[in-house]
């Protein structure tokens, strides 16, 4: 595994609550949640940069909505 660097992260209470909730639901440490979020953000950003689009689809409701990522 690649060498890691340490940083301090400043979060609001709401952000910290969201991080703790994701950590609990996904059974991951808070660091692992942040790392997963970064991987996903980079993955999505690269694909959008290539001109692809990101959608959420509800098969049961037959709804499809494009997700805008900044």
């Amino acid at each position: 595994m690649a060498e890691k660097r340490t940083m301090t992260l400043n979060l609001t209470e709401a952000e910290m609550n969201a991080l703790e909730e994701l950590s609990r639901r996904k059974d991951l440490s808070k660091t692992a949640v942040i790392r997963q979020a970064l991987r996903l953000y980079q993955l999505i950003d690269k694909r959008l940069e290539r001109g692809e689009k990101l959608f959420f689809e509800d098969e049961a409701e037959k709804k499809k909505a494009e997700v805008m990522v900044v």
Binding site: Q36, L38, R39, L43
Partner: protein
């Protein structure tokens, strides 16, 4: 990149051969691999054609191209592992740590390590129809074990998922002890296999395949 020592088994005499496990294969390595493997692959495919061996008996990864997978290593979610011996790459594995999640009910929706590609060098292929036994044994097992170990290191509790080519199904189900979760129409109808945390633990404790 990190390197560690592993042992391969030479099929011709059962002796152990020292090899290097590389965690952090670079895109340039994939180009080297493709150049070295493509010649041997082409030679074997030529022999299979000449011997009129039915296509279903050919090694199923014969058409893979590692050079084309090189750009994927730019993703944070992608990592490459490989085994070097005799100055040649004996096998390679490309894994993803996102955006794949567990399908087994107990851990559904939780992240796992997804094995995107795992292939041994063509000179290690066992091709009974040609009398080819392959040079080294254990290359695929060592690489797959790294996927389970990485899953633990990432905090994924050993969860690993993959779509197996038909010739590899028995290996993942019987030798590794993964759960087969049926054919996946979104992935060429290949069977999807998954390690639960308990299965991964058992596999890693076993110490071999």
């Amino acid at each position: 990149m990190s390197k560690s020592r592993v042992d391969l088994v030479r099929r011709s005499d059962g002796s152990l051969v020292e090899a290097t496990l590389v965690d952090g294969v670079e895109p340039s390595d994939l180009i080297v691999v493709e150049r070295a493997w493509t010649i041997v692959r082409a030679r074997l495919i030529g022999r299979l054609r000449a011997a009129s061996v039915p296509r279903k008996e050919w090694p199923e990864s014969w058409h893979w191209n590692w050079e084309r997978k090189a750009p994927e290593l730019a993703q944070l979610a992608a990592s490459g592992f490989g085994i070097l011996s005799d100055e040649d790459w004996q096998g390679l594995m490309l894994i993803k740590t996102a955006p794949y999640v567990a399908r087994i009910e107990a851990d559904r929706g939780k992240p796992l390590v997804y094995v995107d590609y795992l292939e041994v060098a063509p000179w290690n292929w066992r091709i009974p129809a040609l009398g080819e036994e392959g040079r080294y044994k254990g290359v695929g097992s060592i690489l797959f074990r790294e996927a389970a170990k990485l899953s633990l290191e990432e905090g994924f509790h050993g969860r690993v998922g993959l779509h197996a080519l038909p010739q590899a199904e028995a290996f993942y189900e019987s030798a590794c002890g993964m759960t087969a979760l049926g054919r996946d129409p979104r992935k060429q109808d290949l069977v999807y296999f998954e390690f639960s945390r308990e299965q991964a633990q058992k596999f890693l404790e076993k110490g071999g395949d």
